[in-house]
């Protein structure tokens, strides 16, 4: 049962990664990377590593998103491809 939940979370993280890869708006891509980080935090809890969860949610969801959005304000928002 818990493995079913974690396999759903891994699938959604893979889908988020593919959406980040093919998204033209980079701000949306940064937010989708944060969503992917939430699913990986869920996987860490399922794999019984709550100490990693504490460090990972603060860094992966909070600090990475803020720093990436700050760098994005200094350049173009949309990428041509």
């Amino acid at each position: 049962m818990i493995l079913l939940l974690s396999s759903i979370a891994a699938t959604l993280a893979l889908i988020s990664t593919i959406l980040v890869l093919y998204e033209k708006d980079v701000a949306k891509a940064v937010v989708l990377a944060g969503v992917e980080s939430v699913f990986y935090a869920l996987l860490l809890q399922v794999f019984l590593a709550p100490d990693l969860l504490i460090a990972y949610v603060g860094i992966g969801l909070g600090l990475n998103t803020v720093v990436l959005l700050y760098v994005l304000t200094k350049g173009e928002r949309y990428e041509e491809a």
């Binding site: 990377a33 794999f47 860094i59 720093v67 700050y70 760098v71 350049g75 173009e76 990428e79």
Partner: protein, 136 residues
């Protein structure tokens, strides 16, 4: 049976995530998107290592039993056997606590270099940087 199938499916999905993020770092031109995919690559590697340390019948985090004031160390051999039989492998988790912090340092270094590039060339897209700087 179904548990083992789900188990292999999770590993396969994490490996696919690593592959897609390496492909994105190689082909996407925007520097911020490269950095976001770099963080995704690092996170997938962390989750893959924790996944390798997990055992299917484990129920507890790797915390030593008998840590109370009256009983500060392992009390008997059965405690140790129960600890080994019901917890995950703690070694990958210990490695990854270090790896998260080093990944944060590398990420902040990349962010500072990207800010410097944006100030110097006025753009964050690598093909435009090549046009502006005039190199072939």
């Amino acid at each position: 049976m179904i548990e083992e199938l789900l188990w292999y499916y999770i590993g396969f999905t994490i490996l696919l995530t690593i592959g897609f993020s390496i492909y994105g770092i190689a082909v996407r031109p925007h520097l911020v998107k490269k950095m976001a995919l770099f963080t995704i690559l690092g996170d997938a590697v962390y989750v893959l290592l924790v996944y390798l340390g997990y055992t299917l019948n484990s129920t507890n985090p790797p915390v030593i039993p008998g840590g109370s004031l009256e009983n500060p160390v392992f009390s008997s051999k059965t405690d140790i056997q129960r600890f080994i039989g019901s917890t995950v492998d703690p070694i990958p988790q210990v490695f990854i606590v270090t790896a998260i912090v080093i990944g944060l340092a590398v990420f902040l270094l990349l962010a500072i270099v990207s800010l410097r590039i944006a100030r110097e060339y006025g753009t964050l897209i690598t093909t435009k940087i090549r046009e502006v700087s005039g190199d072939e």
